[in-house]
């Protein structure tokens, strides 16, 4: 990209404008801001709170499971604990995690824009998010929900005695903040790219945000409608899923998973983007197969809409439907594998720096691969019949969502921390955090694969004693994992006040966001940008031997 700061625009006359952090310092200036960078930080604060809330619930679950009998939670309380964990972590942490924080902060900067296309809508989406969050929080304080995060009917509509309505409304409301963010990002990418920033010059993070936004805009409304139908049946007694009037509870499952399977891609596509940025920079390599990386994300976003039935293999849906969904679930593994191979290919002959963000990114590749491959087990109908509702499923999706998305989120947070805050953190302490998170995660969730195949069902806190060693292992791992999450608070917090001032481009990265000051001014750039290069030009073409140069390697006999 345009790395020479004297080229391509007229420098500002006089003193340069202050950074976005100094543009008004009152609480009011933050709560009424339309600056995408500040909104990103508002989101970051909010989701950190919800992450902590979900983590407390996880801690309760893991502590309860140390012994085979129920210890300090009743059956109902245990149900409420895992429901709280699921609802909060999925809708109030993972879905907004990367798009609403890093995406909000970086997307306009990466395409050379001053802001997102609809800045006020962006701020509104944060308030909508907070409103939904308060509703969910209120449901928890009022006594909790016990349906599981899936709100399956008829339990949720006819039988549950917990605060389903409040929680469903909270999720319903928070969906609109997703949709607003999605619409905003789609419009931003279409309308606000800098001169010369063609579609095939977009950084992969931008492509990830774009495809994620498409899924958000097309999938979230279906969740909204399915929750609305639950509310109609539960609150007003309208027989929608009620079998006594000829309704079908499975209809709810179809509607729910039509959203919730694409939602997995809402959670993991942004992680793909983050990891692509980190790996290219820290291996000093152009991305291997840029176009394939782009098309893989687009294909994942599209096919992601056609695989929801693999959540329902044991629900009694027709064998034909199960076969089709099984086949499509295998198909979607192909683009995912292309991405893993291409990241690995990018490392080949790279000059790899094992910095903290890189450790998170490498950890992501390993954990995502395990999560993806175990997904193939579950996509296969005969195996899934055995593994449904066991800890194997729990381990599988935690490998994707926590091992994958949360690792990438932490990696991205570290990678762009100097840009966001203008401070450098301690590299050593951060590497330690990345490694403890990787090991803690595997200690927690790998045993769950094993006990899952042995038949340990999910959602029970009273279990046969032969599973206890695996549960103890898992709970001890969770302690290490918890340390891996808490530790960054200390050194990142410390860096805010005492950290060394960050230069504009501490990693020597090529993205446009690094071509401005750290932290950036309110308008992002002090000059107009013109892009005349493809992304990730970490080594000029023709400067390397043919076997390293991937794009134009000569055919060897």
């Amino acid at each position: 990209m345009n790395s020479d700061p004297t080229r391509g625009g007229i420098p500002e006359r006089g003193a340069e404008p202050p950074s976005y952090l100094r543009e008004g310092t009152t609480v009011r200036s933050w709560l009424t801001t339309t600056d995408h960078k500040r909104i990103g930080i508002l989101y970051a604060l909010a989701i950190t709170f919800f992450f902590a809330l979900g983590a407390v619930a996880a801690a309760l679950i893991r502590a309860e499971l140390v012994t085979p009998s129920g210890d300090f939670l009743t059956n109902d309380e245990y149900n409420q604990a895992f429901t709280l964990h699921g609802i909060v972590m999925v809708w109030f942490f993972l879905v907004p995690s990367i798009p609403a924080t890093l995406g909000n902060f970086l997307l306009p900067m990466m395409i050379g824009a001053k802001d997102v296309a609809f800045p006020r809508l962006n701020l509104m989406s944060w308030y909508v998010f907070m409103a939904g969050g308060l509703l969910a929080l209120f449901a928890i304080l009022a006594g909790g929900v016990d349906t599981g995060w899936t709100f399956y009917t008829p339990f949720s509509t006819l039988y549950s005695n917990s605060h389903v309505l409040l929680a469903a409304l909270g999720v319903f409301v928070v969906g609109f903040s997703s949709i607003a963010t999605g619409v905003n990002f789609i419009a931003t990418v279409h309308l606000l790219r800098a001169r010369g920033m063609t579609w095939m010059r977009l950084p992969l993070f931008v492509w990830a945000m774009y495809t994620t936004s498409l899924v958000m805009v097309l999938a979230t409304p279906v969740l909204a409608m399915s929750l609305l139908l639950v509310v109609a049946e539960r609150a007003f007694g309208l027989p929608i899923f009620d079998p006594r009037s000829g309704g079908d509870p499975l209809l709810f499952q179809h509607l729910f998973w039509f959203y919730s399977h694409p939602a997995v891609y809402i959670m993991v596509l942004p992680a793909f983007g983050v990891v692509s940025e980190i790996i290219t920079c820290e291996a000093r390599r152009r991305i291997f197969g840029y176009q394939f990386m782009v098309y893989a994300m687009v294909v994942i976003a599209v096919i992601g809409f056609m695989v929801w039935g693999h959540h329902m293999f044991v629900s009694g849906q027709s064998a034909f439907a199960s076969m089709v969904f099984s086949f499509l679930s295998f198909v979607i593994a192909v683009p995912s594998a292309i991405k893993v191979f291409n990241w690995t290919g990018t490392l080949y002959r790279g000059q790899i720096r094992f910095s903290a963000p890189m450790l998170y990114a490498l950890g992501f590749i390993g954990l995502f691969t395990i999560g993806g491959l175990t997904g193939l087990f579950l996509a296969s109908v005969p195996l899934d019949v055995h593994l449904t509702d066991t800890y194997f499923v729990v381990a599988h999706f935690h490998y994707i969502m926590v091992g994958g998305s949360v690792s990438a989120f932490f990696g991205g947070l570290h990678f762009w921390w100097p840009k966001i805050t203008g401070r450098l953190y301690s590299e050593r302490l951060a590497q330690f955090a990345a490694i403890s998170m990787f090991f803690g995660f595997n200690f927690t969730f790998f045993p769950q694969f094993i006990m899952g195949t042995m038949g340990m069902p999910r959602r029970y806190h009273d279990y046969p004693p032969e599973f206890q060693p695996w549960h103890v292992m898992s709970s001890v791992g969770a302690l290490v994992l918890g340390f891996g999450y808490l530790w960054p608070i200390f050194y990142l917090g410390w860096s805010l006040f005492r950290g060394e001032r960050a230069p504009a481009n501490p990693h020597g990265a090529t993205g446009l966001e690094w071509q401005t000051r750290s932290p950036p001014p309110k308008d992002n750039f002090d000059r107009l940008l013109v892009v005349d290069q493809e992304p990730y030009l970490y080594h000029p073409k023709e400067s390397t031997p043919d076997e390293v140069e991937q794009a134009h390697a000569k055919q060897k006999p």
Binding site: A117, F118, V217, A224, G247, H254
Partner: protein, 209 residues
């Protein structure tokens, strides 16, 4: 008019800014289609499985109220389209009257809907205790009726809010600068109409050859 467009952040080019609002609204309309798609799937399921009993329930829907409301809403679509064109062309007076007309027609839709609801309540057409048909597919039809029409009415209300805001901008005197807002508002209003056009035969014409 277009030449009077004032560039505002984050846009650098007038052409881009001019299409931004319609572009955003179109994306949102995709959301709305999937949203109503969910409840239409429920309808398809219930009608397919409910058979004759479902049709029996549907025959109770007040076809006259529905037909009059369809005419009212279609007319409002016309006035809204004229208002949008007038805004683009710079005809302030026409735009004001047409926006006012759309607002009145939208309100009358809600009022007529209210009368229809009153009739439905009197005839015990709310599923639950005292429901005319008891449990069964007819109850499913009426579950769809209430959920879909109330959801649609909420959309009408939001649309009326948008039109009221456009009228307020007009009163302030700078509607012509907000031609793209008028365009976005019109797009949304037409969606509300189209949803009703789909709902009308599903609700009122079932079992009426």
């Amino acid at each position: 008019m277009a030449e009077d467009l004032v560039l505002h952040e984050p846009f650098e080019e007038a052409a881009r800014q001019r299409i931004a609002v319609p572009f955003g609204v179109w994306s949102f309309l995709a959301t709305e289609c999937l949203f109503f798609g969910g409840i239409l799937l429920f309808y398809a399921y219930a009608r397919w499985h409910g058979g004759e009993a479902f049709t029996q329930g549907a025959k109770e829907a007040a076809v006259w109220y529905g037909t009059i409301n369809t005419a009212v809403l279609m007319t409002s679509s016309l006035t809204m389209a004229i208002a949008e064109r007038a805004t683009k062309g710079g005809f302030r007076v026409v735009a004001r009257w047409m926006l006012g007309g759309t607002l009145m027609l939208g309100l009358s839709f809600l009022v007529i809907k209210g009368f229809e609801y009153r009739k439905d309540v009197h005839e015990h057409l709310i599923p639950g205790p005292g429901f005319k048909f008891g449990q069964g597919p007819a109850a499913q039809f009426w579950a769809f009726y209430w959920t879909a029409t109330v959801t649609h009415a909420i959309h009408v209300t939001i649309g009326l809010g948008i039109i009221a805001r456009l009228l307020w901008i007009e009163r302030r005197g700078d509607l012509l600068l907000h031609a793209t807002s008028a365009q976005g508002g019109a797009l949304y209003w037409h969606l509300v109409d189209i949803v009703w056009v789909v709902l009308y035969p599903l609700l009122y014409l079932v079992g009426r050859p």
